[in-house]
């Protein structure tokens, strides 16, 4: 059963076998497995439930209501970097593009060899991926919903000699409306509120929305439950408090939320919680063609490629509502107004890179996370070089011009490979990247060595009993691909271990 705000205005106090904090990719899987294992499970989600009729195409309003910090969350550090994290039933899976890629073999090997995640050698990890792909109906994006905006990215990559393919996504019956960021009102996207949580509920899990967890309660080194506040999503006012008592506590509040909850609860083994925050370094270019591309149709992210020469470098097509997508594009004032009609001819080529970033997550006084992220200049240059490649590909495919974001020494409308070469200037640095830091991880690393990670190989927070982590904060280093499938697979392994289910 799903409990919503109106039923929770007086607060609640309940007991369960297990409490799961967060209903995103990691939390939903954990809740479903624990419930299937016969436990009485309570799931707590800070945000509200989003029904199709709540999925407004007015993007600012959707962001304000269903994203952490109203969609205005920033990573500080090298430069202010926007980071969009869903705050609703289903977490970020409601608003992401549902890309589901298996952890690349070389990253898995690195996690085994360098970080001591020896259990990932086992085929159980492969089976976990198979289960999540099946449950989320993951399949390559069909050609009949690619549309010209995705296909020109295919052509641009081909022009540059890079093999590309339709991205596999957790979508069943995509309508090609590029609405992913504001939810998928058609019901096609298999966000975990649609694909996984129903299994949890079917096995008796109770889901509480608008329930923001502040602290984990402890008795010595044993977790005994959580306390928090019922929060009205309109205006984010606190309306009541709640307590859940349970001997099994699973934290899956994401790479920003999980370390804050642990630190607020004074749980910080080896002082590793909140350290080591990492993110994929990202960038992108807007290509404008002669022929209309009608970017508002076609799958949001239908096409992509792995760079064959640079490990950890990935290209992908990208679109969201223009009000979110084009906030840096086109200048200001009259030049911007003149360029508005170009949007019908626009496509976006995005670049994601597994660089070596470093940062931290600390709780502010009000309990919200304060994130810092630092990016090396050399990693920024890898992304800039990839942006040049994408730009050159688009120009070779007949783009009228390519907009790279504002960079000193680089023209706003690049029309030749001579123009794009300016992106290779050594003067440029990470602060110049048109980057969004949505793929964040590593803030409660799982490692074999207690000195380098807060979480052990079972997903248990070191030095505690009855407390596990099941989200991207576990990753010992960036995944090189979109993290959703890996989060779900790791959560599957951990929660099966807790519940005693076969992995």
């Amino acid at each position: 059963m799903i409990h919503e705000l109106d039923a929770l205005r007086d607060g609640f106090e309940i007991e369960a076998d297990a409490v799961v904090i967060g209903t995103g990719a990691g939390g939903a899987i954990a809740a479903a497995n624990l419930a299937e294992a016969g436990m009485k499970v309570v799931c707590l989600e800070a945000g509200p439930r989003v029904r199709p009729e709540d999925m407004t195409r007015d993007a600012p309003k959707f962001l304000a209501k269903y994203f952490w910090d109203g969609g205005l969350r920033l990573l500080e550090g090298t430069a202010p970097i926007p980071s969009m994290q869903g705050r609703c039933l289903g977490g970020s899976t409601v608003s992401n593009s549902a890309i589901m890629l298996k952890l690349p073999d070389y990253v898995r090997q690195e996690w085994i060899d360098d970080d001591g995640l020896t259990h990932l050698r086992d085929e159980a990890f492969d089976r976990a991926f198979e289960r999540v792909f099946l449950e989320t109906k993951t399949a390559p994006t069909p050609m009949d919903v690619q549309g010209p905006r995705n296909l020109i990215i295919r052509d641009a990559l081909e022009a540059m000699g890079i093999d590309s393919y339709p991205l596999p996504r957790a979508v069943d019956g995509c309508k090609g409306a590029a609405d992913c960021i504001v939810g998928c009102a058609s019901g096609a996207k298999q966000s975990v509120d649609r694909s996984v949580l129903p299994r949890a509920i079917e096995h008796g899990a109770e889901v509480y929305t608008c329930a923001h967890v502040d602290r984990i309660t402890m008795d010595g080194d044993r977790a005994t439950g959580v306390t928090g506040r019922v929060v009205d999503p309109d205006g984010r006012r606190d309306v009541a408090t709640f307590t859940v008592r349970a001997p099994h506590v699973v934290v899956a509040a994401g790479a920003m939320g999980t370390p804050v909850i642990l630190q607020m609860s004074r749980i910080n083994p080896g002082r590793q919680v909140g350290n080591n925050l990492e993110a994929h370094v990202a960038g992108g270019v807007v290509g404008v063609t002669h022929e209309p591309l009608h970017p508002w149709i076609g799958a949001s992210q239908g096409w992509g490629a792995i760079d064959p020469n640079t490990p950890g470098l990935k290209y992908e097509s990208l679109w969201a509502d223009p009000s979110v997508m084009l906030v840096k594009w086109g200048g200001v004032g009259r030049p911007f107004m003149r360029r508005l009609r170009d949007i019908d001819h626009a496509t976006v080529g995005a670049v994601v890179y597994r660089g070596k970033t470093w940062g931290s997550v600390r709780p502010r006084r009000d309990g919200s996370p304060k994130m810092k992220l630092y990016i090396k200049r050399s990693d920024a240059h890898v992304v800039l070089k990839a942006m040049k490649l994408m730009s050159d590909g688009l120009l070779r495919c007949g783009a009228r011009y390519v907009f790279p974001g504002l960079m000193p020494g680089v023209v706003e409308e690049m029309t030749s490979e001579r123009d794009t070469a300016a992106m290779l200037s050594p003067r440029l640095h990470a602060g110049h990247l048109p980057m969004t830091g949505n793929h964040v991880f590593c803030s409660c690393r799982m490692t074999g060595d207690p000195r380098t990670g807060a979480v052990d190989l079972d997903g248990r927070v070191r030095g505690t009993k009855g407390l596990w982590v099941c989200d991207a904060s576990l990753f010992p280093s960036p995944s090189a691909v979109n993290p959703q499938a890996t989060v779900m697979a790791m959560s599957d392994l951990i929660s099966r271990g807790i519940g005693g289910l076969a992995a």
Binding site: M55, R57, G70, D144, L151, G235, R236, D321, D344
Partner: protein, 160 residues
């Protein structure tokens, strides 16, 4: 949102920036008044969580009241001539000073988001969708069957 000295300055700041960012012209694009930038942005601010709302409001108050410190001109930002404000916005975007660039980026991002989410702007840029969503305040036209997997450009035959 309550009508106070500060909320009036926020509204002035939003208006002052919107006017130069989305001016009227002969290109047919709806301007800042037609898209009710001030009213809609104030409504949006009211939906934000408190900390973010205060931060964004502070930005507009700072713009409105600190124009001399930002080398725009004397007096309140919204009362300075259009040309001076326009030049200031263009200058900030390419300024070597990080806080100028940050301010310009934040203003551009926040107000562009509001501008581009107005139905008249979506109509102007020609946006449409492949199915009717149950909640579409933008009133986007729907063109069924416009996509195809059998053509080189992914559009159904006859669709331009």
């Amino acid at each position: 949102m309550r009508d106070t000295f500060w909320t009036r300055r926020v509204a002035d700041g939003i208006g002052g920036v919107s006017e130069v960012m989305f001016p009227g012209g002969d290109d047919g694009a709806p301007d800042w008044r037609e898209t009710q930038m001030v009213e809609r942005t104030m409504e949006y601010l009211g939906m934000l969580p408190t900390r973010m709302r205060r931060l964004v409001m502070l930005m507009y108050v700072a713009i409105e009241l600190c124009a001399p410190l930002l080398f725009v001109g004397l007096g309140r930002f919204s009362r300075i001539s259009f040309d001076r404000r326009d030049r200031a916005m263009q200058r900030w975007r390419r300024s070597p000073l990080p806080h100028h660039r940050l301010l310009a980026d934040a203003l551009k991002a926040q107000l562009c988001m509001m501008y581009l989410s107005h139905p008249a702007v979506q109509a102007h840029i020609g946006a449409f969708k492949t199915y009717a969503a149950p909640n579409d305040p933008l009133n986007l036209p729907v063109r069924h069957g416009v996509l195809s997997g059998d053509t080189p450009n992914g559009l159904a035959p006859g669709v331009s």
